[in-house]
């Protein structure tokens, strides 16, 4: 599947974000990358998507180094939706989704029957068919995000990477997008990797969670295993109560304080 081995990622000579990281993304599941700001989750995602060239190490897709694969071949297997994408003015939803067919097209074959079918299906799954001829910039936040996801769907890749797909969306739209992703995974068996900020989103919608801190994987596994009070202390620096979610039984985090605040108090106590 998708694997990172000994991966080191940096933006320039000085700032190494991720060092010698190893990770396996399980096939057919939704994986959530979580961690505090600056832990490198977005960087890791970009590295997995070949948007960033590794200093060292390798990212393997089905055993092949993604940097050696021709760009178009990779784009047919792996799709990425970066954070906060912006569509040019006047572009309609249908036109945007059609761009997702880029890796399948060529100068001669600009719009095969397959392309048309893929776009229509993508619009159907995301519920954007009625809005297909509206300009993207005239849509609401949730609708816009769904349009972009539809574009990635039209790419017809087995694996979809999403960088913070729910940040900046209001509550209803967040749920819209997360349910869509769940459906994609459940009905089509797609592997989804998403960077999320909200830990509860991760536990509710992902089957596999990877927690990062300062560029290292601290824990990875299913929600029950990963989301514990110790993890929250170590990765996020918060003290939290973990209770079973009333609907799903999965762990629900309720933070109540800062870890190091307590630590400071303890030191003051000890000093007395």
């Amino acid at each position: 599947m998708l694997k990172a081995r000994d991966l080191t990622l940096a933006y320039d000579d000085k700032t190494i974000i991720i060092e010698a990281l190893g990770l396996t993304i399980p096939a057919g599941k939704i994986t959530a990358l979580v961690g505090p700001n600056g832990c490198g989750k977005s960087t890791l995602l970009r590295g997995l998507a070949r948007l960033l060239k590794p200093r060292q190490g390798v990212v393997l897709l089905n055993g092949q180094d993604i940097h050696r694969l021709p760009t178009r071949t990779l784009a047919k297997q792996l799709g990425i939706l970066p954070q906060g994408p912006v569509a040019p003015e006047g572009l309609t939803v249908r036109e945007l989704v059609a761009q997702g067919r880029y890796p399948h097209q060529s100068w001669f074959q600009q719009w095969a029957a397959d392309d048309e079918a893929a776009v229509t299906r993508a619009l159907e799954i995301t519920g954007m068919l009625p809005l297909a001829d509206r300009p993207v910039d005239a849509l609401s936040g949730g609708q816009r995000q769904r349009a972009w996801i539809a574009m990635t769907l039209a790419q017809e890749t087995e694996i979809i990477l999403l960088d913070e797909p729910t940040t900046f969306l209001d509550l209803a739209h967040q749920i819209e997008v997360l349910h869509l992703l769940e459906r994609l995974n459940r009905e089509e068996g797609r592997t989804i990797v998403m960077v999320v900020h909200d830990l509860n989103h991760a536990t509710r919608h992902a089957q596999h969670i990877v927690a990062l801190r300062k560029g290292c994987v601290v824990a990875s596994g299913d929600p029950h295993t990963v989301v514990t009070q110790e993890l929250l202390r170590e990765v996020f620096g918060v003290d939290a109560d973990i209770i079973p979610d009333p609907r799903t039984g999965l762990p629900l985090c309720l933070p109540y304080g800062l870890t190091h605040e307590q630590g400071v108090e303890a030191k003051i106590e000890a000093g007395r």
Binding site: D12, R46, A49, R50, L51, T71, R72, T73, L74, A75, K76, G79, I80, L81, P82, P85, V86, A87, P88, E89, G90, L91, T92, R94, E95, L96, Q99, G100, Y102, P103, Q105, W107, F108, Q109, Q110, W111, A112, A113, E116, D133, Q155
Partner: protein
Amino acid sequence: MTTEPWVIVRNAQLPISVRIDRRVPPVLAGVTLATLTLMVINIGVGEYPIAPLDVVKTVLRLPADNADYHFVVNVLRLPRMLVAASVGLALGVAGAIMQGITRNPLAEPGIIGISAGASLAAVTFIVVVRSASAGVVSLAAFIGAALAALLIYLLAWRKGDSPIRLVLVGIGLGSVASALTTLMMTFGDIYDVQRAMIWLTGSVYGRSWAEFWALMPWVTIFAPVALLLARDLNVFNLGEEVAGGLGSRVALKRGLLLLTVVALAGASVAAAGAIGFVGLIAPHLARRLVGPLHEGLLPVAGVLGAFIVVAADLAGRTLLAPIELPCGLMTAAIGAPFFLYLLIQAHRR
């Protein structure tokens, strides 16, 4: 089922299919027709007026009323018109590419430093080598453009190219070139300076077949290259990361597109001086007419560019006849209301 927004041509046997926005064929046909008509009218206008029908006959080498028509039309005015149209086409396409790569609606080939480099070379030749022929000035301009482009690329390159850095460096270099050009003009003879200024504003006055044939190869090669890269421009417009994720070889394609801009803009400046605003306005108009997809945008922007330059030339020749105003002045004159239009439009939103 709503009306299809696209016209699709698909062949059942061969794996060939083409898709284009349905607005494109009628718009393209309409603007091309308008441009050709305008060209015919423009040829017919002047100190020696010729009726449009006669113009067409003369161009097609059909017998017309007056034998003199052949000289006036085919030797004097036709090449000038063809140069104007080709320059407009080149600038329109180059402008559309610039706006696509930088995702900025105000980017145009004239401000990225290439014209400034060409202008510096040309003005230096005009003022220093005082009796330089038009052909020499043209060549100097082209070399100036190429050198400027090279310098800009080298200066902006830092672990890869970035369109933003390229444009900004171009603006910086353009300012320096501008200052040096002004310097040249302070020291020259006043008549040379005037000649230089006319060259700077851009004009097709006196352009002959020589200029046309010098320009043709560049336009014939690079305009189609741009069209071939239209799909890449589409995905670039979505953002560099999305484009990469969709499998576009961003660095390579962008390099090719930039090369196309330099070739088209450089050849245009060499042929007709620094005609501004065509590369800015034509893509905007085209976008309003046929939408942002580049398969249709590039050709329409090109033909609109040709239309604008031919119209500007016509206006320049007729407004204050018999004085001829350079077409570059006319295009600059519509620049001001265009900016106003942009601002009003944005305000209304």
